[in-house]
């Protein structure tokens, strides 16, 4: 990092995340200071290590976390390959910028063959404990913990600096069979309560109203072929998108936790049930 080779390595990484926002940049030092920031991500991600010099610290620091890099880039080799010498200046000169650009393009090309979205595996899911209620023939559940809800019936499940978003069991019941999904662009930013994509059911078209502020980093591609996952498993396999959170503590102020949302949902269901019964009884009269 104290040499221009390190500056080139860093420049490539920054260019990569600008070009492909679904790629997440990992600070190799923070990765090894015991911080939990990357805990979940590193479990499932494929890692590209970009080493600036012979010490190959980036690779070493990834291996310290018992992970093997999916791809390794060694700047001195690349410098030879493209015939461009690293500058000794504080900032990159035009030639070195070009070198960083070329290496970045080379990585992107290789990733396109693999498809970076495929190398990001599905999130891991564990057993959930639910609050539940059955009204008439309909059964509704709400996770007891780990999930937060807005009053529009969308959930957010934070995991460190990222979060999954999806629809509640109540909403999937109300929407009926979900047939199509439309995701926001990877890299698109949203404020809390902004639209974050949409989905269409046999009854209606709904916008997903984001419970959090952040940037879309991943979408649940499985829903494109199997949108019914949102009905079958709304809290896990039916997740909609993943975002990089901006300030979840602030978002939380306008959200309900599991127990509070369960009460809110019950009240809403009972009101709807009573209203429906009222209409039916008026019709009968």
């Amino acid at each position: 990092m104290d040499k221009s080779l390190g500056v080139i390595a860093r420049s490539i990484a920054l260019k990569l995340i600008e070009k492909r926002p679904e790629i997440q940049l990992i600070c190799p030092v923070l990765l090894n200071t015991g911080d939990e920031k990357y805990e979940n991500f590193i479990e499932s991600a494929k890692i590209i290590a970009i080493d600036g010099c012979m010490t190959r610290c980036a690779t070493k620091l990834v291996e310290n976390r018992e992970k093997k890099p999916f791809k390794r880039i060694f700047i001195p080799d690349m410098s030879k390959k493209y015939g461009i010498k690293p500058t000794k200046e504080l900032t990159l000169n035009e030639e070195n910028e070009k070198l960083a650009e070329q290496i970045m393009e080379e990585i992107i090309k290789e990733l396109e063959d693999v498809d970076v979205k495929k190398v990001l595996k599905s999130p891991k899911f564990e057993a959930i404990e639910f609050f539940d209620i059955t009204v008439d023939k309909y059964h509704f559940n709400v996770p007891k913990e780990g999930y937060y809800f807005n009053e529009n019936d969308y959930w957010i499940k934070p995991e460190g600096k990222t979060a999954l978003l999806g629809i509640s069991d109540y909403l999937q019941n109300a929407a009926a069979d979900i047939l199509f999904v439309e995701f926001p662009e990877i890299g698109s930013e949203m404020e809390q309560f902004d639209d974050a994509g949409s989905f269409e059911s046999s009854k209606t078209v709904l916008q997903l109203i984001s419970p959090g502020t952040g940037k879309t980093i991943r979408v649940n591609k499985a829903l494109e072929n199997n949108p019914e996952l949102m009905n079958q498993d709304p809290y896990q396999k039916g997740w909609f998108i993943e975002i990089e959170l901006k300030n979840f503590e602030e978002d939380k102020e306008l959200l309900l936790n599991g127990p509070d949302y369960f009460e809110y949902m019950k009240e809403k269901i009972m009101k709807e049930k009573n209203a429906l019964e009222q209409i039916r009884s008026e019709k009968d009269v």
Partner: protein, 139 residues
């Protein structure tokens, strides 16, 4: 004989604070106090125990010499690293304080400092150099 001062800067991969900390460290070590300072590579420091070009030298240096950490963000990785492997750093510079104190400075991006960013790195480097002088005198 006076002991050289170690400078260890935030690796700050995705932050403007990281870019500034690295630039400031290099200005001190390459231009302002080349004979009184040694730059310590933080990723190498963290990796440690490598068979070749191993980071143990970096850790040993920080153990036996006064060290200044430069933090690009609130994670304080440089300080944590030195504390863990070498002992308490003699001084810590927080880049965010400079960014807050100079809101007029607009850097081009987190990658490219631009002229204003380089000027800010020089201001930070001057302060680091003053710390170096204090530590170098006391040894």
């Amino acid at each position: 004989m006076k002991k050289k001062v170690g400078i260890i800067a935030c690796s700050g991969e995705s932050l403007i604070g990281g870019t500034l900390s690295r630039a400031a460290a290099r200005i001190v070590v390459e231009k302002l106090r080349p004979n009184q300072t040694i730059i310590l590579c933080q990723p190498l420091f963290m990796a440690g125990n490598l068979e070749k070009h191993g980071g143990q030298e970096e850790r040993d240096f920080a153990k036996n010499h006064p060290t200044i950490t430069i933090e690009g963000c609130e994670e304080e990785c440089a300080k944590i690293a030195v504390n863990r492997y070498s002992g308490t750093p003699k001084a810590t510079i927080y880049i965010q304080e400079y960014i807050d104190a100079h809101p007029e400075v607009k850097t081009n991006s987190r990658e490219k400092l631009g002229e204003e960013g380089i000027n800010l790195a020089e201001i930070i480097a001057e302060d680091i150099a003053k710390k170096v002088d204090e530590l170098y005198r006391t040894k």
